[in-house]
Structure formats: C-alpha cells, structure tokens
C-alpha cells in the first residue's frame, strides 16, 4: 500500500501542476461572471503552494555537515598529594 502511494507521488505532482494551470486559465472568466468565490481563491492559493513540493522546485541538495569529533579533555590531574 505504502509503495503504491509513493509510486503515485510523481503523477500526483504532475496532476497538481496541470491543475494549477487549468484553474488559472478559467479563473479570469469565472471572476468576470461572478462565480469565483473566496473559498475557491483560498483553494487555488493552497494548490499553488502545494506545487512547490515538486522536485523541480527543490534547491540543490546541500552536503550534510560532517560530524564534529568530541573534544578530548585532558585527564584530571590528581591534586590530592599525600
């Protein structure tokens, strides 16, 4: 099930991109006919924002920082002189 969902992600993202373009193409006409509601505008903005998850919108991967070795403190000096 999870594998099928992961495999479907690219097509879902492609679908979002196509959907954004389609909504944009009909929005102006919908506004002129007073059928474009605030809820539709909110949904449109959410859809546009979700397009940012597509691979082409991700910046180059930054190499992971190398782990820093723990600082070795010198062994405590025994000051108890007997």
């Amino acid at each position: 099930m999870e594998t099928a969902i992961i495999a479907a992600i690219p097509s879902i993202i492609q679908g979002i991109t196509a959907l954004v373009s389609y909504i944009q193409s009909v929005r102006t006409a919908a506004q002129q006919n007073n059928v474009w509601t605030p809820d539709m505008e909110t949904s449109y903005q959410s859809m546009l924002a979700s397009a940012a998850t597509a691979p082409e919108w991700q910046p180059d991967s930054v190499p992971a920082a190398q782990p820093v070795a723990p600082v070795q403190f010198p062994a405590p000096v025994n000051t108890n002189i007997s």
Partner: protein, 144 residues
C-alpha cells in the same frame, strides 16, 4: 524536448494576446495573465534545469544559478516558506485580491507585477537560449 519548448513559447506568446472583456479592470486582467504565464514559464524553466542539473551547473552556470535563485526559500505572509518563484505568484495573487477589496492601490499592484515580470522575462530568455551552444552573453540580473 525542442518541440516541447517551441510549443511552450508559442502558448506563452499567444496568452498575452487575449481580448479584454468590457468592464474588466485592465491591471487585474494583466496581473492574472502574468500569473498564468509566469507560473507556466517558471515551472517549465525549472523542469528543464531539473532534468540535468549537473550539466547546466557545469556548462551554463548562470542559468543554473538563476534556477537556484528561483528555488531559494522565501518567507511569505510571515510564517509560510515557499520557493521564490512560487512566492512571486502568491504575492501577485495576494496584492490583486487586496486591490479588488480596495486595500491596495494600482501602484502597489504595478510594483509587484513589474517584479514578477522581470523574473519571468529572464526565465523566458533562458528557455529560448537553451538550444544555443553558448550562454555567455546573457543579460545581467541582480540575484542578490
């Protein structure tokens, strides 16, 4: 790939020729047309760069640098973080909404519109130049 780019460029050019319906606000229509063309342009440009990032980074560093500039995360509305290209479109959409509600004036819309158009024009230039062997004569843009 070349056929895809030609079709995209033609559709982008034709989108700007749409007739203006009577009674519509020209700046709103222009902003929405820019938003539509802009999203398609930036998405196409980034898709092509994403197809072979290492090639463009080596052979056309300015192009790849511009793609990375569009991908750089930006804070929108105080809390949300989006790539700069998406942030341009969201900002344009938000200012148009405010303008339609009387909360912003046409100069503010024009300013956001000009910023978005500059970014889109640069991406269009890179798309049209992708078939060229040299990308050394690209116009300078301040990506700082």
């Amino acid at each position: 790939m070349k056929k895809y780019l030609i079709i995209t460029c033609c559709s982008l050019l034709l989108a700007g020729c749409a007739a203006l319906a009577p009674g519509t606000d020209p700046i709103v229509v222009r902003a929405q047309q820019t938003e539509t063309v802009g999203y398609a342009t930036l998405d196409t440009f980034l898709k092509v760069d994403n197809a072979n990032r290492s090639l463009f980074a080596t052979n056309a560093p300015a192009l790849h640098q511009y793609a990375e500039w569009l991908r750089a995360p930006q804070v929108v509305n105080g809390t949300n973080v989006y790539p700069r290209g998406i942030a341009f479109m969201l900002s344009l959409d938000t200012i148009v909404q405010q303008y339609q509600k009387g909360l912003a004036n046409s100069n503010q819309v024009a300013n956001v519109l000009a910023t978005a158009e500059t970014a889109i024009t640069q991406a269009q230039w890179y798309i049209s130049s992708m078939g060229a062997t040299s990308l050394t004569n690209q116009p300078a843009i301040n990506t700082k």
